[in-house]
């Protein structure tokens, strides 16, 4: 396991107390805290390098542009993107998927076509496809999940028989912690001619991602879930697909020549980056990648897996607790319910002990319906969490049980 206590010293926010208790931050699937390395990189950028990118001819602007493009190259290397030009900076996963739906989708999906998603997709990998299908008169097919919270491969196969134009799924489920066999799903989808969109929001921070090995066509990620600032993220795509796609947003930066009534467009990736980009976000993301790279994503995955296993072991020992999602190989997301105690009540009670967890539908309402619960409580771990945090979670949960009459107080 990682030396979480040592890493924690890099995160100023984690030194805070909540309600007089040590802060136990277990909502990392929502967003992670930021290390000094990232905070300083952003401040340094504004102190030494800030100017608008791709515009000025003066040295400062050139340095700002270089910092921005260096971040792109760094991210390309981090996920083994096809080329840096295949990395489009976005506000995050949501915008990246909307870009694919709004550009590739609108150009290639027509009446009667099918798009396949899964019952464990986050709303951001579902609603853009619903909107596209409604606009085009296409049909959306949702692949079912198995009892233990995996994509049902036989239903996936059946869905592919409809020869979908696009197949979208999450690499890692934010509600269940399932690590989906992304390369295998991609192979199957390609065999019927579909283009594959992988929601990498929960995978990129937590395991070694190689988009070329996955061979997907589009891959979306969020910086803020991997130590970087909010509003940073990217769409990673096969460059030839991006080349052929119509623009998404119109404006400055994305154009080549502008006439009164029409324009020609810039090269990729700039064609998809209209307006002044989030340069501090890109610079912060590059610093986050350096920080994670120094630890090693394999070790991050191992650490989280150990914490998730410890949490599952301790929580399932509490009478009345149900843990959702697969056992064995999984990511560090542990969703659970406790008897008839509503997750919202659990979160309030844990908060009094400084334990921050998420309660709700986790932007996966179709999944909640299938689990037959209105909501779950969710603890999600990262590099700075340790076994003490797992114990704090379990201890506080016992108190919640006592308040609701489950165990003697």
């Amino acid at each position: 396991m990682l030396d979480a206590a040592r890493l924690r010293a890099d995160f100023p926010l984690l030194e805070r107390q909540e309600h007089g208790r040590r802060l136990v931050y277990l909502d990392n699937a929502a967003t992670t805290q930021k290390p000094d390395a990232v905070l300083h990189a952003i401040a340094d950028y504004y102190r030494t390098t800030n100017a608008n990118v791709h515009r000025g001819a003066y040295s400062l602007a050139i340095r700002a542009t270089e910092a921005y493009e260096a971040a792109r190259a760094k991210l390309a290397g981090f996920v083994n993107a096809w080329t840096p030009e295949g990395v489009v900076f976005t506000r995050g996963t949501t915008e990246a998927i909307n870009l694919v739906a709004g550009s590739y989708g609108r150009a290639h999906v027509g009446r009667g076509d099918a798009i396949v998603v899964t019952a464990m997709d986050h709303h951001s990998n579902l609603v853009p496809w619903q909107i596209l299908c409604q606009e085009k008169g296409a049909t959306l097919r949702m692949v079912e999940i198995t009892e233990d919270g995996r994509i049902d491969l036989s239903d996936f196969g059946t869905a592919l028989e409809g020869r979908p134009k696009i197949v979208a799924f999450p690499y890692v489920s934010n509600a269940l912690g399932t690590v989906n066999p992304a390369a295998q799903l991609t192979r199957l989808a390609h065999a019927v001619g579909a283009v594959v969109v992988v929601d990498g929001a929960q995978a990129t921070p937590h395991l070694k991602v190689d988009v070329r090995a996955l061979d997907c066509d589009f891959y979306a990620l969020s910086g803020h879930k991997m130590l970087a600032p909010m509003g940073s993220g990217a769409l990673i795509a096969k460059p030839e697909l991006l080349e052929a796609m119509p623009p998404y947003h119109g404006g400055g930066e994305m154009i080549s020549r502008v006439f009164d009534d029409h324009s020609t467009y810039n090269k990729i990736p700039h064609k998809f980056e209209a307006g002044t980009p989030n340069v501090e976000g890109a610079v912060g993301l590059a610093a986050a990648i350096d920080y994670l790279g120094a630890i090693g994503l394999e070790r991050v995955a191992e650490h989280e897996q150990a914490l998730a296993q410890a949490a599952i072991d301790q929580l399932t020992q509490i009478d009345g607790v149900t843990v959702y999602g697969p056992r064995g190989h999984r990511a560090g997301v542990v969703s659970f319910t406790y008897g008839d105690i509503h997750p919202h009540d659990i979160a309030t009670i844990l908060d009094q002990d400084g334990v921050c967890i998420r309660a709700g539908h986790h932007c996966t309402q179709p999944l909640m319906r299938r689990l037959n619960v209105p909501a779950t409580a969710r603890a999600s771990f990262y590099i700075y969490n340790d076994l003490d945090d797992v114990a704090a979670l379990a201890g506080s949960l016992v108190k919640a049980g006592a308040l609701f009459g489950y165990v003697p107080a």
Binding site: P343, H344, T348, I349, D353, G360, H361, P374, A391, K399
Partner: protein, 149 residues
Amino acid sequence: MDTSPPEPRLSALYQELILDHYRRPRNKGTLDGATHSVSLNNPLCGDEIDLQLQVEGGAIKAVRFVGRGCSISQASASMMTQLLKEKAVPQALALAERMSAMMQGDETAAGDKSLGDLRALAGVSKFPIRIKCALLPWNALTDAFKGQW
């Protein structure tokens, strides 16, 4: 493992009476002959309520609810339905205002006998993000009488 007793504010929040209404909600179900129906939900945490009322001659003759959500929202709904029966509509709306005042921490409202069992929810005012849970059924009530009654 931390085995210190729960915070006093938590014990005040999750009183016996609240858990009793949560687990054995009064007036739960649908109403034949309802004159007013409102569905409200809280998209943030997913609390839901369908409230049905039967109003005759300006008074609430019957009230029922169907809901899903946390103990606070469901207990509040259950307690509210107990209180509303036979109340004139303006009286019911005045109670909604008292309830809202209690949630803002108003001590006199918290001591107001007219709020009945609902006074057990006074502790919610110490947990600002839970106030909307307690007020969900009351917002449904005021919505029901927004139009004509």
